[in-house]
């Protein structure tokens, strides 16, 4: 995607330098070959081919790395203050026992973990949940939904807080910065391509280049815009290209990024759970908190895993969810659900398991409940006393010879089929990518050629 842009920039750059000092003209050489000038072959030698190809690919790679760095810097600017402004969170009220208790729990856990005391903030929304926001383990804030504080007892608040502080202490915020910015690089491409056509896209880019000038809460707003299907990321863009790019990034997200990052964050969550038990020496608090949270309706709007593992991508989701809940309670309009899907896209791009917009309103969708059950199992191993759940009755197993003869080969065949399908999908993805790069290159050539010849003519070479 980025290669054509890099090509354009490179060629025009060479042309501009050409004014001052003569530069080679690989673009002109290439174009002449395409136009049938056999006197001057496309590539004089294989060395030149390798050279030009690596410049093309390398410049694409460098641009991708550069935008990654840009996004990382941008996310670092979106620290705790930005999140608090975006969430419209407030400091705990003086004299409010429940909120003071929460602030105390946070301070206590920070002492136990040997961290600097983090900021504490409360969101007045329907969220029975909490999250950490920030850029590093030395600079973060713990934010809780007021209903969570009302529903949990002191031990449970302590357990939930311990999980968050432990996650921050384990460096999850730094990790989140890396993974989220990496997965946002692909979202940046349509913005860059759309910048000439759309004012909002230009504004987004401008904000990203100069994060220090952005207003409080702006970083999170930009992050939301990146995932908004009606936002500048796609709306301004020629429809076919936009759809193609969306399709591509969806395939990459579903097939590659999401499973891998999902597994990664699951491990980090388990680590934070274990660390929380080590800090509080009390597995029952966190287990009780998880049980209460999974039974609360508001959790259905995003997985508690996402909230508790404290990732920038999910912060966006959470902020939106909160507003969405408010809005949904007033009026549920279609436009709103579409916007919500955009949030789900950003969040899933960062590898977090979230309920899709369709799951809304359900009490703890199945995926969420599974994750929670897994976490509770770990906590039980660490000594939590869980109430005996009714559970599923285990079916008696009968190993019939028929099973061995029919079922296993059938299963094997099915697995083989799936593998083949995946391989086919991969080939298709590569094919589509090649086509896209070609299309992009052709478009670039069409745009660049006139400028190129004008500049060369002006410089008289």
């Amino acid at each position: 995607m980025i290669s054509p842009i890099a090509l354009g920039v490179g060629v025009i750059g060479l042309d501009l330098i050409n004014f001052v000092t003569p530069m080679p003209d690989p673009f002109g050489d290439a174009l002449r070959t395409v136009l049938g000038d056999t006197e001057d072959p496309w590539f004089d030698s294989w060395q030149e081919f390798v050279w030009i190809t690596s410049i093309l690919l390398g410049s694409g790679g460098v641009t991708a790395l550069w935008s990654w760095g840009l996004l990382r810097r941008f996310l670092r600017a979106g620290g705790k203050a930005d999140a608090i402004a975006f969430l419209d969170a407030r400091p705990p009220r003086q004299g409010d026992l429940v909120e003071t208790r929460f602030a105390h729990a946070v301070t206590e856990m920070a002492i136990a973990a040997g961290l600097r005391a983090p900021d504490v903030a409360i969101v007045d929304g329907p969220m029975v949940n909490a999250a950490v926001f920030g850029t590093s383990h030395q600079d973060f804030a713990v934010v809780a939904g007021r209903p969570m504080l009302d529903e949990l007892d002191r031990d449970q608040v302590q357990g939930a807080t311990a999980h968050l502080v432990a996650a921050a202490g384990n460096g999850d915020l730094e990790m989140a910065n890396i993974t989220t910015s990496a997965s946002l690089v692909s979202a940046l491409v349509p913005i860059i391509l759309g910048a000439p056509f759309d004012k909002r896209a230009r504004g987004l880019l401008w904000a990203m280049v100069r994060p220090s000038r952005i207003e409080p809460g702006g970083v999170h707003r930009v992050l939301y815009d990146l995932g908004d299907p009606d936002g500048p990321a796609t709306s301004s863009f020629p429809a076919v290209m936009g759809t193609l790019i969306n399709f591509m990034s969806q395939i990459v997200a579903i097939a590659v990024v999401r499973p891998w990052l999902g597994a990664f964050w699951q491990r980090r969550t388990a680590l934070a759970d274990a660390a929380a038990v080590q800090l509080t020496r009390n597995p029952n608090g966190l287990a009780g908190a998880l049980i209460t949270m999974s039974g609360a309706p508001a959790v259905g709007f995003a997985s508690p895993l996402a909230h508790l593992s404290a990732v920038v991508g999910e912060e966006v989701g959470q902020a939106r969810q909160q507003r969405q809940i408010q809005l949904l309670s007033e009026k549920a309009d279609d436009d709103f659900v579409t916007r919500a899907r955009g949030v789900a896209a950003v969040v899933s791009g960062s590898g977090q398991e979230t309920s899709s917009a369709d799951d809304w309103g359900e009490i703890a969708p199945p995926a969420v409940r599974q994750t929670i059950e897994k976490r509770l199992k770990l906590l039980a191993k660490l000594g939590a006393a869980l109430p005996a759940s009714p559970g599923k009755p285990t079916r008696p197993r009968s190993a019939s010879p028929l099973l061995l003869v029919v079922a296993y080969p059938a299963m094997f065949g099915l697995v083989a089929l799936i593998v083949l399908l995946l391989l086919g999908l991969a080939v298709m993805v590569v094919g589509v990518m090649v086509v896209l790069v070609e299309v992009g290159l052709l478009a670039a050539v069409a745009v660049i050629a006139p400028v190129h010849y004008l500049l060369r003519m002006l410089s008289g070479t």
Binding site: L97, T107, E108, G114, A380
Partner: protein, 202 residues
């Protein structure tokens, strides 16, 4: 000649590696020791916080339960002793423990005064004191964790070879000095844990 030169080069390389290793070890141990010291000072900070809380608490309790003079006076006396105690660890620990038990008996006495318990001021004071007790406990826990990490790092190879020469002594754990808490917790090693089943509620 050639061999001698190679031997000299090898010796220099090995010496440089050793020096590098010593530097890395020194830095690692220093970092851990500083963490231990920081954890120690954190305990001090929390103890100080508790001393600051007590006058407020005493005033509130006096207002409602004026004739519980003994319990209140015990707290006041224990605080004064803790403030004026010597700076060495054992005598300070003794004074602070006395304060802890005095506070506990004060809160036990207050149970008999529903009016007092119902006031907002007292409830928040109680939360403050409870949180401070927690903080002291967690600060000690962190101190012990940091001490364990430091001692493990110090006693592991290769650090143990140079630790004494570089002046890294062992750090001491803070032991429990509350007899009630010293009772060993009952741990059930029956096999339902190892089977991965859910442990039963006690």
């Amino acid at each position: 000649m050639e061999t001698v030169r190679w031997i000299i080069v090898a010796a220099v390389v090995v010496a440089m590696l050793l020096v590098l290793l010593a530097i890395v070890t020194y830095n690692r141990l220093t970092r851990r020791r500083n963490e231990v010291r920081n954890a120690w000072s954190q305990i001090d900070v929390q103890l100080h916080r508790r001393h600051e809380l007590i006058p407020n608490l005493v005033a509130t309790v006096r207002g409602y339960a004026g004739h519980e003079r003994a319990a209140v006076a015990a707290v006041v006396r224990a605080r004064e002793r803790a403030l004026s105690s010597a700076t060495d660890v054992p005598s300070r620990a003794a004074a602070e423990n006395q304060l802890t038990s005095a506070l506990r008996s004060l809160f036990a006495v207050v149970e008999a005064y529903p009016d007092l318990k119902a006031t907002q001021n007292f409830a928040s004071l109680q939360e403050e004191v409870a949180s401070t007790e927690n903080r002291i406990a967690f600060a000690r826990q962190h101190y012990n964790d940091a001490t364990m990490e430091y001692n493990t790092a110090r006693d592991s190879l290769p650090a143990i070879l140079v630790a004494d020469a570089l002046g890294f002594g062992r750090a001491d754990h803070l032991l429990l000095d509350d007899p009630a808490a010293q009772e060993a917790p009952a741990i059930d090693f029956s096999d339902d844990m190892s089977r991965g089943d859910r442990p039963q509620l006690p």
